[in-house]
Symmetry: C2
Subunit: 330 residues, 2 copies
């Protein structure tokens, strides 16, 4: 009965592959969520194993939708992606090398597959369904394990000549500063990220004599969440660390505005959820360091999309747009 197939609605899948967790979302043609889930990425098992597990989860869920929907495309969001080559180029979190994850996905699903950088996907998610709706020039920073960024210029993602633009986490803010996973020193992400928070704790423990519960925790035991909890308990070192991190972020954002003159900067991820602890110094040093012509004109906003959802919605939206506009050969 092929007629029935033709009556089915489109279903698009977005997958946000993180170093720890992977989020999956099914949406309809209007990017409304039909189903959401997540599972452990376990990148150490390798890319092939990951995509086998992903396919099993998707196929199991798809069965529940197959009466009404037909799968029409998959969008993959991952760190370190080069969208021009379809590969993950430099992800330190996944350590899969130069894997063509589009081909791996297509070996399981015979549908168009698109690949995006995870921060670009998050920016698209904000653009389609979040606080950036209607904006043409804005920047999204994802403050998680690292610092990712997606940059919108005149309504389009900034890609650069080789698909490598927009690596704001790897601007060097301190020559000869902290060693970065990228092989260089002093990158913004070594200060402003969950890992940066940990490193700043040990910096302040080394240079001050302030009493702190943090003096009882080893580097490997410490998490940025713990620093946050101690800051809420008014631990002086923890408070100092958040202030220091917010100051560096505010200064960096002011420079970013000098370069891009966006309408807004949107923050999300674990660090942004520390709210006033980090956003108060961020806003203060942001406004202080803006050129006079930009002062008071650029908003710093927090994402209102649930954790992980922005990248999934962005990946799905990119699939829908790609299919509709027949932009690239997927």
């Amino acid at each position: 009965m092929p007629e029935i197939t033709e009556d089915k609605l489109d279903l698009i899948i977005g997958v946000d592959i993180g170093g720890t967790n992977t989020a999956i979302g099914f949406v309809d043609n209007d990017n409304n969520i039909l189903f959401e889930s997540s599972f452990s990425t376990e990148p150490e098992k390798g890319a092939a194993d990951f995509f086998n597990r992903l396919a099993i989860i998707i196929n199991k869920e798809l069965k529940k939708f197959e009466n009404k929907y037909t799968l029409s495309g998959i969008g993959l969001a991952a760190p370190g992606v080069n969208y021009r080559s379809g590969t993950i180029e430099s992800s330190v979190n996944l350590k899969w090398g130069y894997v063509n994850i589009i081909d791996l996905t297509k070996s399981h699903f015979d549908v168009p597959v698109v690949l995006l950088n995870d921060a670009d996907a998050a920016a698209l998610g904000e653009y389609y369904k979040g606080v950036a709706q209607g904006m043409k020039n804005f920047i999204v920073l994802t403050l998680g394990t690292g610092l990712g960024s997606g940059i919108f210029v005149e309504g389009h993602l900034l890609r650069g000549e080789n698909g490598l633009a927009g690596e704001l986490g790897h601007i060097i803010i301190e020559p000869e500063g902290r060693q970065c996973s990228c092989g260089r020193k002093g990158c913004l992400e070594t200060y402003v990220s969950a890992g940066g928070i940990k490193r700043s704790v040990f910096h302040f423990l080394s240079v001050s004599n302030i009493e702190s519960k943090l003096r009882n925790i080893s580097y490997n035991e410490l998490t940025s969440k713990k620093v946050y909890e101690l800051a809420l308990e008014h631990d002086k070192v923890a408070l100092e660390v958040f202030y220091y991190t917010g100051k560096i972020l505010g200064e960096a954002l002011a420079n970013i505005v000098t370069v891009f003159n966006p309408e807004a900067i949107i923050l999300f991820g674990g660090l942004a959820d520390a709210d006033d602890l980090i956003l108060t110094p961020t806003n203060f040093y942001f406004e202080k360091n803006l050129m006079s012509t930009n002062k008071g004109k650029v908003k710093i906003l927090k994402s209102v999309l649930q954790n992980g959802r922005a990248a999934v919605l962005g990946a799905c939206g990119f699939v829908i747009e790609t299919i509709e506009n027949n932009i690239i050969n997927v």
Copy 2:
């Protein structure tokens, strides 16, 4: 005999208004130069006086072309321009305040007038007639009295939400660093510019005991040209200053590539003409500080257009494009 008028060819005028000199160029519809000249800007006499003098010079020359050509548009390039408002917003060199120079020009010439930032005009000049022909993603830095920049993203000038994007000279590279004319401290242009060279001389004279002819010259007497001449004579302080300046420029360009991933960076203006004195350290610290994925992929080029010509050709090209595409209401 109106028929004769209709047979006339288009003539477009480009005007690059600098703090010291103003360059004028007449071009035909294909942006070929018909006439070039320059005169002292003398901004202290005010904007109205400047445009009166400009009109006299243009009208005198136009007479020589009026048999064959008819004036069809004027492009103005100036520092501190906001192209959205048609005003000069923040030019410290001109000190004209918020003058609407489009209206001032139109009071003399009843033709379409467009206004561009001078560094944007230089970028367009390189795109139409210089080393950036055929490129879609590139950045032009003008290294003169200050440091200007024009940024091309996907074949278009980066403007930003309020027309204020691309102020690379005002990225803060040293919090609490040198006082900048913009009112803040530590901007790139306070180090990498003719003025920056002078300031660096006095920094090295203060921190070292190295003998140098520069110790006989007062701050107000010193020019960057003199520092250049002494460097050619192997004056150690002068050489140190160029190396220091090139290092800072190279580090800044590496960060700019991390953000934009352009095909090339094009340098021009007085400082770029210091050639190897500055470009050797610039290239060294540029490559050293690039992310591994960008290493060896981005060219640093020198403009091949004569001094001042890039901005004039860019302004003319922008007029031609604007008229052809009917882009904006001029």
